[in-house]
Symmetry: none
Subunit: 165 residues, 2 copies
């Protein structure tokens, strides 16, 4: 089996993870109507997988097929239900967040791929002081605070949560 190039797989950068990142990118930029269509595109991107695997990916990424302009296509589902229980945020946060940092009045949170929306929604529900707003991509949440002091405080709080209190 010397031909297999599965050299990653260490830090969470498995084939599955990168494939799912690709899926998210594809459905964000193209109108993908069926899983077979997605399968074809994925193969072009270097991920030869069957429809069955894609069905499982779609379930776990919480993607949805919705009726848009002239036909159905896939897109990311609603980020999450609103969490209003602070203790839920902590476990969510600990499970998904990888790194936290800030520069000036911006806090950047890196999460597991596809989880940023959920982290973002949880953050929003906490109504943190000094936070003007949050934006989530696939694996990054950007938090805009009023000033650098607020950012520093927020980062400290988040790191305490991350460390398990």
């Amino acid at each position: 089996m010397a031909s297999k190039e599965k050299k990653d797989a260490r830090d969470g950068n498995s084939a599955k993870t990168t494939r799912r990142e690709t899926i998210l990118r594809l459905i964000a930029s193209e109108r993908i109507a069926t899983q077979n269509e997605l399968s074809r595109r994925l193969e072009e991107e270097g991920f030869p997988v069957t429809q069955a695997t894609i069905s499982r990916d779609i379930r776990e990424l919480r993607l949805v097929k919705t009726a848009g302009n002239g036909g159905y296509y896939y897109e990311v589902g609603k980020p999450s239900e609103k969490y209003h229980a602070p203790h839920k945020f902590y476990s969510l946060y600990q499970a998904m967040v990888r790194t936290v940092d800030y520069a000036q009045n911006l806090v950047v949170i890196h999460s597991d791929t596809g989880m940023a929306q959920a982290v973002c929604a949880a953050m929003d529900s906490m109504d943190w002081p000094g936070v003007l707003g949050t934006i989530a991509g696939d694996d990054t949440v950007l938090v805009v605070t009023r000033d650098e002091g607020c950012a520093a405080e927020l980062v400290q709080s988040l790191r305490e949560i991350q460390a398990g209190r």
Copy 2:
């Protein structure tokens, strides 16, 4: 045909409309996993229709089937539609934007959930002076301006629009 009780149909309160209202109520309160299941529940509610009709209802109501806790079920989808007509910006903006604020050289716009992309696209199409770029999440648009002065001007303009001019 005196046996037919189609007494509504006047003001938009057709059988179809009330059936769809019922569908929305059902999926909001129960975990409906398949269209056949929904068909059964609808029949109990007094709407004997086939799966085909439900499929059409689901398409037009923009419902989605998503993977939740232990299985798939239906729920309402995101309302997002992309408008690209600049002159529509004002009404779009007034309809969707909730708050506007800025810190340093960043303007943060909060919109209705799922509308940030549309607001962002509309913003882009306006080619505002001093705006370096925009990023949209689900309910937040971040606008990066050249400096704080530009941000302040932009916020003032946006608030005037918000106030109806």
